[in-house]
């Protein structure tokens, strides 16, 4: 059962402002301000706005926590607050509560800073707190420390599918009785000198610098790469009986989890989408559903040439042609940019909100149809719908394919 949600994103730092931006089709993409990007091929990104660390952390504490972990911690606070879950240090239930974070990188800001110091000033000038800021699992460690969670605490690092894996793995821990409550999700804060430079050299990013809000255009014929986003998404997953017993407000259910690998190339998806299709089919099977049950797909939809055509092909294989043309699909990365390791969790949250509120968030910037991308992408404007099940896709460098199937609050409460 899902009983709490939390987000920090380029379009809003809480669930309500995030959702209203998505429904309004508002882009969070703009010029990069985190560093001077004037000599970079790409000078735009979806940055988190109005996030003042000292509003959330004591000054001393903030210095030791990378923005990556800060985003995750704030998203987890929101989710736990909504779930109305609070553990004291000696609470007997602590041992059955845990946290699972997904990351593409981890503390990349600290990594870049420390390597810079190392090269400029030598080995004895790097910070003693650098390593704990950098390591990706620290976000989970910090959440466990803050909220007294003594159960399974872990981290998944599978590039852009990481936080979808984190949600799936956390649900699995609950399913097999290893935990009753898991705070799960993911984060990324990689809009750094090296992050942008590295993706640029892989020719992965859009260079539509003069029109930032139009740069992320998944499925559109004039897409030219993804736009980096940043932020975090967190979900409280809870054992059904426990949630019902304590009278928690149930927001939905994670009912299907599918994984596959492309086993093809380090960064390119396998052409034809067969790998991604197997993950989607596995997720539907895991949830005991048929393609006809799926009312919405939140696509991975990165705005790269290869992903969007391949994912479209994958949806046709997994859903079957008829259902593929029926089901509305949107990529909210058109507004948030690609939150990398945090994307899966943020988009699972979008999927749940869409089901619960009966609104499909759009894919913005649909201006030039691509014959290879000919499905219903909820072009440019949100629209009402009714449905009980949604699928959220997340694929990562390395050939990772993950699909999650979520059920609405209505089916979860039945």
């Amino acid at each position: 059962m899902v009983t709490g949600l939390g987000v920090v994103t380029p379009v809003g730092n809480d669930v309500e402002s995030f959702w209203s931006a998505l429904v309004a089709g508002r882009s969070g993409i703009g010029p990069i301000t985190h560093f001077d990007a004037s000599n970079y091929r790409t000078r735009i990104a979806g940055e988190v706005k109005g996030f003042n660390p000292e509003q959330h952390f004591e000054k001393r504490e903030a210095r030791r926590i990378d923005p990556y972990s800060q985003y995750f911690m704030v998203a987890c606070r929101q989710a736990l607050a909504q779930a109305d879950i609070k553990y004291g240090p000696d609470d007997p239930e602590n041992a059955s509560a845990g946290v699972m974070v997904g990351a593409g990188f981890g503390g990349m800001n600290a990594f870049v800073e420390e390597i810079t110091v190392l090269l400029k000033r030598g080995p004895e000038r790097v910070s003693p707190t650098g390593i704990p800021k950098i390591i990706a699992n620290m976000a989970a460690g910090l959440v466990s420390i803050e909220h007294n969670l003594l159960g399974p605490v872990s981290c998944v690092v599978t590039a852009c599918s990481a936080s979808a894996n984190a949600l799936g793995d956390a649900a699995e821990l609950i399913r097999r009785g290893a935990a009753d409550v898991m705070v799960a999700g993911g984060a990324e804060a990689a809009i750094t000198t090296y992050g942008v430079a590295g993706f640029n050299q892989a020719r992965a990013l859009s260079i539509r610098n003069d029109e930032p809000e139009k740069a992320s255009r998944p499925f559109d014929a004039e897409r030219d790469g993804f736009v980096m986003g940043e932020g975090a998404g967190a979900v409280v997953l809870e054992d059904r009986d426990r949630a019902i017993e304590r009278g928690a407000t149930i927001l939905g259910e994670l009912i299907g989890y599918g994984m596959s690998a492309d086993a093809y190339h380090i960064t390119l998806p396998r052409p034809g989408g067969t790998g991604a299709a197997r993950a989607m089919s596995a997720a539907m099977r895991d949830g005991g559903l048929e393609p006809g049950n799926i009312s919405y797909i939140n696509a991975h939809g990165t705005s790269t040439e290869a992903n969007d055509a391949g994912e479209t092909a994958a949806i046709k294989i997994a859903m079957g042609k008829e259902e593929a043309y029926r089901v509305p699909i949107s990529s909210t990365k058109s507004m948030t940019g690609h939150i990398l390791g945090g994307a899966g969790a943020v988009e699972a949250i979008v999927s749940l909100l869409a089901l619960n509120r009966g609104i499909l968030p759009p894919t913005i910037n649909q201006e030039h149809p691509d014959p290879e991308c000919d499905l219903d992408y909820v072009a440019n404007a949100a629209r009402p719908f009714t449905g009980e099940y949604a699928m959220s896709n997340s694929f990562g460098f390395g050939g990772h394919n993950v699909a999650l199937v979520l059920g609405s609050e209505r089916v979860a409460r039945e």
Partner: protein, 81 residues
Amino acid sequence: MEKTEIETRLRDVLVSELGLDADKINRSANFETDLDVDSLGVVELLMAMEDEFGVKIPDDEAEHIHTVGEAIDLVHGKLNV
């Protein structure tokens, strides 16, 4: 350099580089128990002192620093040999 100048500069560094609470800093304050400086913070403290005063503090000398006063004395000794 006079101890009072060392104290002023050390206090500024403790606030700006380590984020310590200025009100709690005095010569008798113990880094661990009064100022809540943990083992990682001690290394930050030594680095900050080395950078600020241009001195080198080996680990065996660092072990003797428990209070702000001892830190001032150590720096004073190194600068006035």
